[in-house]
Amino acid sequence: MGKVGEVAILGVGMHQWGKWGRNFVDYGVVAARAALADAGVDWKDVGFVSGASTMRCGYPGYVSGSTFAKALGFTGCQVASSYAACASGTTALAVARAQILAGVCEVALVVGADTTPKGFLAPNAGDRPDDPDWLRFRLLGATNPVYFALHARRRMDLYGATTQDFANVKVKNARHAVHNPYARFTKEYTMADVENSPTVSDPLRLLEICATSDGGAAIVVSSMEWAKAHGHTNPVRVAGISLATPTFPDTVLDLPYMASDSAAVTPEPDDEFKVSIAKIAYEEAGVGPDDLSLAEVYDLSSALELDWYEHIGIAKKGEAELLLRAGETSIGGRIPVNPSGGLGAFGEAVPAQAIAQVCEMTWQLRGEAGARQVAGANVALSINQGLFGHGSSVIVKR
């Protein structure tokens, strides 16, 4: 594939994460207006709106692009709505990038927002035995934390990870989040707080599993030419986007399936799925793990953050804990991970989360991240995986 065209990030904006219970559109509009103001772009000059959709807020959530456009005031601009579970935000950004690079528009607005119910995410109602998501709840009681915990247990068994390591991820990210005005949880949690919280799915405890939140995030992107012509001389650029699917056979059991693929006949690919997600983004951006100043990874659980260290190539397989214990992934370390505080501090607002990761990377690369600033940041990677095999990763540069 090799390098692809870049687009400029002119502005980013967020609504604070929380459990506000308001209409998701409100959060999206707050974030969109903040991103437009940050970009110095008039809404009426936006040629394309790319919505990241939510499945929990009825029809307006499915057609998020037009919902946000109407709330901002219809201008006749073009629109698309994307749903890809946790990867929705990156998908929406990828659609905007494609429209810009195809010459369809000069300036695009990417928006995602959600209002979430309390407790476990659950499948749609009704008897649906043809739906793997329904089957795993019905027959197994396999909630999302069950899958996170299966991977945590593997780390303990294969690599000697300890429950203290997992707790330390939470403590590290909480220290980062203290300085983030958009995070939902800004308490500086201690080891004791984590260890005293109840077990949800052994070995993971309540404070190590990401909650579900309300929130909204938005990005204004444009062609490099438009950015230059409008005074953005050195913008943060989107240098790579990955929307990878797994390659058969994917033998790592994952959400929401009851079984992995079978490697009985067809040999396993060289790279497991989550490695291939990052690899595509690296190839597009023409950089590698050693070039990263920081990373925003999808810590649905504390233990999953450690898996990502290896998948994005900043640690060798089985050595993520060494990086963590040495403090290298804390702000001030060699490769800070989740300087925003991560999902542990935000709680997931599904369609907004991957966009929020890009907001954080943009602030970091501009040197505008305040007390959580990573010194000299110039390349950053975000990564996540949506349900049913939607990989997603973004690399930004300055």
């Binding site: 027959l139 197994l140 915990a149 299966l150 056979p249 079984a259 693929d261």
Partner: protein
């Protein structure tokens, strides 16, 4: 009066209590899937009918955990008050795939280890006044009968 035993979902496993099997798929090239039509499709297989086959009834634990809080519907708890459900992901040797299942009642995460050998059994998922709804579960071989 004994309750009628019915599968919690049709077509995923046999109801032979003495020798229960999961019902998977086998592609023309021999790649397996579970469930037959919802598991992974091997794109490297020639097109053709996926055959229904019985999967291995023994395997080794790939990983394990539990649900300490009651899962949301459509899960129906067998016990009131709720008792944590133990869950194991089990690697089948022949099929070279990992299959999830609950672990039989009474076995907790403290009893399990990665690599432990388990076998497939039928057990009650939940019941109502007239029926026992049956599902497959994993049972450590060491636990015996």
């Amino acid at each position: 009066m004994a309750k009628t035993r019915v599968p919690a979902v049709e077509g995923l496993f046999t109801m032979d209590a003495a020798n229960p099997r999961l019902l998977g798929g086998k592609a023309p090239n021999g790649s397996y899937s579970f469930p037959k039509n919802l598991g992974g499709t091997d794109p490297y297989s020639p097109l053709g009918d996926t055959e229904e086959v019985e999967l291995s009834n023994r395997g080794r634990i790939w990983s394990y955990t539990n649900s300490c809080y009651p899962p949301p519907p459509p899960f129906v708890s067998r016990h009131d008050p709720f008792v944590p459900v133990t869950i194991a992901a089990v690697e089948l040797d022949v099929e070279k795939m990992v299959v999830l299942g609950q672990v039989v009642d009474g076995v907790t995460v403290d009893d399990l280890k990665v690599g432990m050998e388990v076998e497939l059994v039928l057990d009650t998922l939940y019941e109502d006044d007239d029926h026992e709804y049956i599902v497959w579960k994993w049972r450590p071989l060491a636990a015996g009968k």
